[in-house]
Amino acid sequence: MEAFLNRGARRSRVPILMACSGLAMAALLSAQTPSHPAPAAKSTPTPRAFFDTYCVTCHNQKLHTAGLTLDTLDLTHPAANAEVLEKVIGKLRAGSMPPPKMPRADAATYRVIATDLENQIDQATLGHPNPGRIGAVHRLNRAEYNNAIRDLFALDVDLKPLLPGDDTADGSFDNFADVLSISTSHLERYMSVARQVTRLATGLPPAQPSVQRFEVPLHVLQEDRMSEDLPLGSRGGIAVHYNFPVDGEYAIKVKLQRQYQDYLKGMGWPQKLDIRLDGKLLKRFSVGGQGKGRPAAASYAGDGEPGFAGDPEWETYMQLTGDAGLDVRIPVKAGERVVSASFVREMWEPEGLPQPVQLGRVISNDQVYMGYANVGSVEIGGPYDAPLTLKPGTGSASHKAIFVCEPPKAAAEERPCATTIISRLARLAYRRPVTKADTDTLLEFFDKGRKDGGSFDSGIQFALERMLVDPDFLLRVHIDPAKAKGKPEPVSYRMSDLELASRLSFFLWSSVPDDRLLTLAEHGELSNPVTLDKEVRRMLADSRATDALVHDFAAQWLNLRQVEDVVVDPVKYPLYDESLLQGFQKETELFVASNLRDDRSVDELLTADYTFVNERLARHYGIPGVYGTRFRRVTVPNHDQRGGLLAQGALLVTTSYPDRTSPVLRGKWLLNNIFGTPIPPPPPGVNTTLETKPGVIPPSMRERLAQHRTNPSCNSCHSVIDPLGFSLENFDVVGAWRTHDEAGKPIDAAGTTANGEPIDGLPGLRKVLLAQPEQFPRTVTSKLMAYALGRRLEYYDESTVRKIVRDAAAKQYRWSSLIEGIVASPAFQMRDTASPSAPSLRASK
C-alpha cells in the first residue's frame, strides 16, 4: 500500500489510511501488470540515439523550438519526464514529426521507440499511478438532470428546452466538472423546472391551463408513415407521448405546414386528416380543395408584386381558413398517452415537373399547391375544467412511483407516511443515506405545502420541489478526507463507496444510482471487485446504459449532435433534405447502440459489413430491397464502399462544406476521433485561405490542397491531415458514393501517410487503422475515460489508458473490457487531495 501511494521522485506521496477492503486494494494494485515487450526490430536505435539523429536539430537548448530541449532531456528515467515524453510519444505515434523533407526513420522504428518509452514510463509508475483530481464540485449537466428526474419520478419528459445548455469544446464532453458552472439563470431555471416537474409528477392540477406545442421540422418529408406510433396506411404527421397531469378536459389542435410565403401546403386537393388518442380515432377532417377564386401566380414571390397575388378569398383560404378548426376537445384520464395527427395515405405522383424534384428550400407555388398537405404542429392544451373541480391525478406511473404509502384519513396522522415518501426519494436524489436534518428540512416544506395547497399531495409536491433545488441533488461534491488536510503535499485517497456508486451511475446511465447500488454502497460492499464487476455488468444490461452511452458519450465523441446544424447547398445537392440528415443520425445511433448492446469489439465500429437503414437511406446508399420508414439492420452489398462508421453519412456530412467535400475537415476528424492523435489548430494569424483566382474553379481539390505542400508552416500538419481526408473522397458532401468530384474530375482516393505508408480509399483507410491493433481501441478508451471521469485526460493518465487497452486485447477489445478497465482504474476509484501550493485556476485568476 505504501508503494502504491508513493509516486516516486516528482512529488512525495503521503499515505493515508483508507476505509477499504484489502481485496479491493489488491485488485487496484494488480491492475498494473507489466507491459509486454517492444516488438523486436533489427538494429533499432536507443531513444537517445533516435532523438539525437532526428529531433535535436530543432529541439535543442539553443533553438528551443516549441519549448522542447530534447538534447538535454534525461532519458535514463523517462517517467521523471513523462509530461514531456508523452507529448513526444504522441508525435511519434502520429508520425507528424520531424516535419516533411527532414530525414526520418522508417515507420517500424517509430513504433519501436514509442513503445520502448511507453513501457519504461509504465514500468516506473507501476503500483503508484497518479489518479488525478476530479473537480471537488461537479454540477449535474442538462442530460443528467433530465435523466435523474426520469428515474426519481418515473416521469419521461424532455426538460432540455427549459434548462441552459452546458458548454463544451472540440474533443471535450459536456460533463467536465471544471467547466460546469452555476449562474443566476441556472438557479432560476432549476427553481422553475422543479416546480413544473414535481407538480406534473404528483398529479397536482396546474395553476391554470397550459398549452404545449409539438412541431414537425419544416424540412422533414411527410410522404410516408412517420413512426411506429402512427397507424399503418397513414402518411405524415406526428405522434406525441404526452403526460396528462390530471383527469380533465383537454383540447388537441393541429396546424398545417406553410411554405415560405405563409401559404398552407397541399391545399389544391382534398386529403383526410386524423386526430387520434392512444391510436383511437377521435375525429377525421377533410383538408384542402376548398380554395375559391383566382390563385396567386406560380412565380409569385411575396408582397409588392402587383397583380401576382391571388383573389382575396383565395388568399384568405390559403393563409387563414385552410387549417382553421382542426381541433377536438375531449376528456382524458391522467397519465402518459399518445396523441397523434396523420393523414390517410393516398399516393400522389407529380406530373410535368422536372425530375428529380428539387427538395431544396425554395419551391414554386404550384408545386406546393398540388403536393401533400403536411402537419406543422400539434398543440395540446388543458385541463380546461374549473380549477376547483379538478382532483389530483392518481393514475399516472409517476404518482404510483412517488406515493409508496397511503396517508391515513386523519390529517394529524399523515406525518409517518410523508416521512416515508420524502426520505425514500431524498436518499435517491442525494445519493446517500438521509439524515434527520434532511428529512426535517423537507418536512417543513411538506407542512407549508400541505397548508397552502390543502392536500397531502400538495405537501409532498412542495417538499420535492425544495429537494430538487438542494445542492446535494444538483452537485456531486468530493470532500478531501479530514486526515489529508493540512498535509504539505497532495495525497491520493480512495473514494467512498457512495462516491463510487455515483461515479458508476453517472458514467453508465448519466443518472442517479438506483436503490440496489446505493444499498451495496451503504454496506461498503460496492468496492469489492467481484461485486463491482457484477454491478457493471448489470448496469450495462439495462437499456439506460446503451441510451446514455449513445446519446451522451458517442454523440459527442463522433460529433453526432452537429448533424442538426448541417446546411447543404440545395442547388448542388437536390437529393438532400432534413429526412436524410435525421436518417444519418439515427443510423449511427442504432449502429453504435447495437455494437454496445451486443458487447462487440470496438473494432467492429470500423470493420462492420452491416449498417442500419430505412428505405430513404438505403436508396441513398444504393442498398436494394429496403422498403418503408422503419430502420433495420442490413448487410451492405459492397464492403469496399459501405460498412462501419467511416462510411456513414453522419460523419461524412458533418465534415463537409455545404457545396463541397473537405479532405482537411475529414482528415482532422479522423485524427482527433479515430486515430486518437489530435492535430493542433492552425496557429493564430496564419492565413488559412487557399488562394484561387476569383471566379475560377480550380481543377480539383487535390490540386488546391497541394498549396499546403509549398508552405512549410502548413505542410508540417497538413502532410498528416490531407492524405487521410483524400481516402474518403469517394463520398460526396451528403455521403453518397461518387466516382467524380465537384469539378467533374475522376476521384483519386490514394495517398501516403506521413510515415510513408500507402493509403487508398475506404479499404485502405481501414487497413491502416487496423494495422496497429491497439490504436483504435486506445482512442475509444481515452475518449470514454475522459467522459467517465468528467475531466480532461492528462499525461499521467496515458499509462492507465495503455494498461486498459493491453488487458482488453485478450477480450477482443469488447466494450465491457474497456468499461471494466476504466472502472477498475485508480483514476476512477481514487482522487488526489488539493495541492496547497497550486490553487485552482479559477481562484488564481
Partner: protein, 441 residues
C-alpha cells in the same frame, strides 16, 4: 387593394380582411408606464455573427457628412441617432472565438485549451451590477439559438466563447436564453401570469426555498478547501441575486406590469421568434425591470441559412467567401437583412414612450460584429456602431474614423463613461476612445 401595400408586413395586412390571425402576443397589450422623473439611460448589445461584407458596410464620407451604405440603408430613419465607427481593432482575435469573446469583455486573450475558459468581465455585467440597486434584474442575456452542446466550435476552445457575450467573472461565461417562455419567467416570475397575487405567492415560496438552501450552502462551503469553493460561491452568488430580486420585487410591488400570458416556447419561424424576443426586451426596458440587455441575433459562427431572403446557403461557410466579389455580395444580403431586423427593433423602441421622450432616446445600443472581413477572421476595422439617444449623452448622425487601430476595449471604456459609470479598465483597454459627445451633463 391591400395586397399591393409594400409597407405592411404580410400577416398584419390580413387583419384588413376582417379575420384574426396569430400575432405576436404583445401587440397592443402594453399598458401605459409610469413617467420617469429624469431620463434613465440604458445599455444594450445587439450582436451579429460572422463579420461583415465590409464593402457594403462602410459609409462614404466622414463626420456628419456621411452617406449610408447598402447595409446601413435600412436604418435611414435613424441616421441622426447613429454613431458609426471605422478603424477600431478587436482586443482579441482568435478564429471566431475572439469575435464574440471580446465583443463586450475587451479581453486581450482567451483560453489555450478546451477546458481553460477565461476572458474578462463584460461591460453589461459591470453596468448591471451598477443598476442592480434600482432594478429587479441586473441584466438580461438573450439569444436566438438553442444551445446545442455539439462541440466542435472554434479551434480547440470552449463553445462558450461563441455562445455568449456576457461574462460575470473572467472565468464565468453566462448562458444566453433563447426560449421566450424562459425569458418571460425571468422577467415576470414563474407563477404563470403577471397577476399580482399569483406573483406574490410564488415569491414567498421562492424565498422560503432560498433561505433553506442558503443554510446548506454555508455548511457545505465550510467543508470544502479554499481552492474548491469557487463553484459553491457561484451558487451562493446566484442565490443572493434571486433573493435581492425578490426583495426588490416586493418593494416595487405596485409596479405596473402588462397583463399577458406566458408564451409557449420558441415559434418555429425565425422572424416570429425574433419578434417575440424583441417584444420581451422592449417590455423589460419599458417596465424598468432591467436597464441592461445583451442580445445575439445569432451565435458567432452560426450556420443559419436565410432562405426567406433568397440566401439558402449556410451563413458561416458563406462568410468564407475567398474574397470572390459575387459571394461577398451574397453575404451582404444577410448583413442587410440583419439591419432590417434591427430597424424593426428600433421602431418598437421609438414607439414606446419613456419620460419626456421614447425608449430610443434613452438607450445606447452597441450594434455590430466582432470581426470584419470574415474570410480570414480579420480583427481590423470592426463594423460597429452606437445607436440611440443615450439619454442626451450620445451625439449621433456621424461616422468616426480612427487611425492607429485603437482597441475595441477602449470603445467599451468610452461606453462606460457615457453610461455615467466610469471604470479604471475594461479587459485590455489602454485608454478611452475619444467619441465626441454633447457637453457633459
Amino acid at each position: 387593394m391591400a395586397f399591393l401595400s409594400k409597407k405592411l408586413p404580410r400577416r398584419t395586412m390580413l387583419k384588413g380582411l376582417g379575420t384574426t390571425m396569430a400575432l405576436p402576443f404583445l401587440d397592443a397589450m402594453l399598458p401605459p408606464m409610469r413617467a420617469a422623473v429624469k431620463p434613465q439611460n440604458r445599455f444594450q448589445a445587439f450582436y451579429v455573427p460572422n463579420g461583415m461584407a465590409m464593402e457594403y458596410w462602410t459609409p462614404k464620407g466622414e463626420g456628419s457628412a456621411f452617406e449610408l451604405s447598402p447595409i446601413l440603408e435600412p436604418l435611414a430613419a435613424y441616421k441622426d441617432k447613429m454613431l458609426v465607427f471605422s478603424g477600431i481593432k478587436a482586443s482579441w482575435n482568435y478564429i471566431h472565438a475572439g469575435a464574440s469573446g471580446s465583443f463586450l469583455t475587451g479581453t486581450p486573450r482567451g483560453g489555450r485549451n478546451e477546458i481553460e475558459i477565461i476572458a474578462d468581465v463584460s461591460i453589461d455585467q459591470l453596468l448591471g451590477r451598477h443598476f442592480a440597486q434600482e432594478t429587479q434584474l441586473a441584466s438580461l442575456e438573450v439569444s436566438m439559438d438553442l444551445p446545442a452542446n455539439a462541440g466542435a466550435c472554434t479551434g480547440n476552445l470552449s463553445c462558450a466563447y461563441l455562445d455568449t457575450l456576457s461574462w460575470r467573472s473572467p472565468t464565468q461565461p453566462l448562458p444566453m436564453e433563447w426560449n421566450p417562455r424562459a425569458v418571460f419567467e425571468t422577467l415576470f416570475g414563474d407563477s404563470g401570469s403577471t397577476d399580482k397575487k399569483a406573483r406574490e405567492k410564488r415569491l414567498a415560496q421562492h424565498k422560503s426555498i432560498l433561505d433553506s438552501v442558503t443554510e446548506k450552502l454555508t455548511s457545505l462551503k465550510q467543508e470544502l478547501g479554499p481552492g474548491d469553493q469557487d463553484k459553491v460561491n457561484e451558487y451562493t452568488d446566484a442565490v443572493r441575486d434571486v433573493e435581492r430580486r425578490i426583495q426588490m420585487a416586493e418593494k416595487q410591488s405596485d409596479i405596473e406590469l402588462p397583463s399577458l400570458a406566458q408564451p409557449l416556447g420558441a415559434p418555429p419561424v425565425f422572424e416570429d421568434h425574433l419578434a417575440l424576443m424583441m417584444d420581451l426586451q422592449v417590455l423589460a426596458f419599458q417596465s424598468d425591470l432591467t436597464r441592461v440587455i445583451s442580445f445575439m441575433l445569432s451565435k458567432e459562427q452560426s450556420p443559419r441559412p436565410y432562405p426567406q431572403i433568397g440566401v439558402p446557403e449556410a451563413h458561416h461557410p458563406l462568410s468564407h467567401h475567398n474574397n470572390i466579389p459575387e459571394l461577398i455580395e451574397r453575404m451582404s444580403k444577410i448583413n442587410r437583412y440583419h439591419t432590417q431586423l434591427f430597424a424593426k427593433y428600433l421602431d418598437k423602441l421609438k414607439a414606446t414612450p419613456d419620460g419626456d421622450g421614447t425608449l430610443l432616446d434613452h438607450i445606447m445600443i452597441l450594434y455590430g460584429a466582432g470581426i470584419s472581413n470574415s474570410n480570414g477572421h480579420s480583427p481590423d476595422n470592426l463594423p460597429q456602431m452606437l445607436v440611440g439617444g443615450g439619454a442626451g449623452r450620445l451625439k449621433g448622425g456621424r461616422h468616426l474614423k480612427f487611425a492607429n487601430k485603437p482597441s475595441s476595449a477602449n470603445l467599451l471604456m468610452a461606453i462606460m463613461d457615457k453610461m455615467d459609470y466610469p471604470v479604471e479598465k475594461v479587459g485590455g483597454s489602454t485608454g478611452k476612445l475619444p467619441i465626441e459627445t454633447l457637453p457633459e451633463v
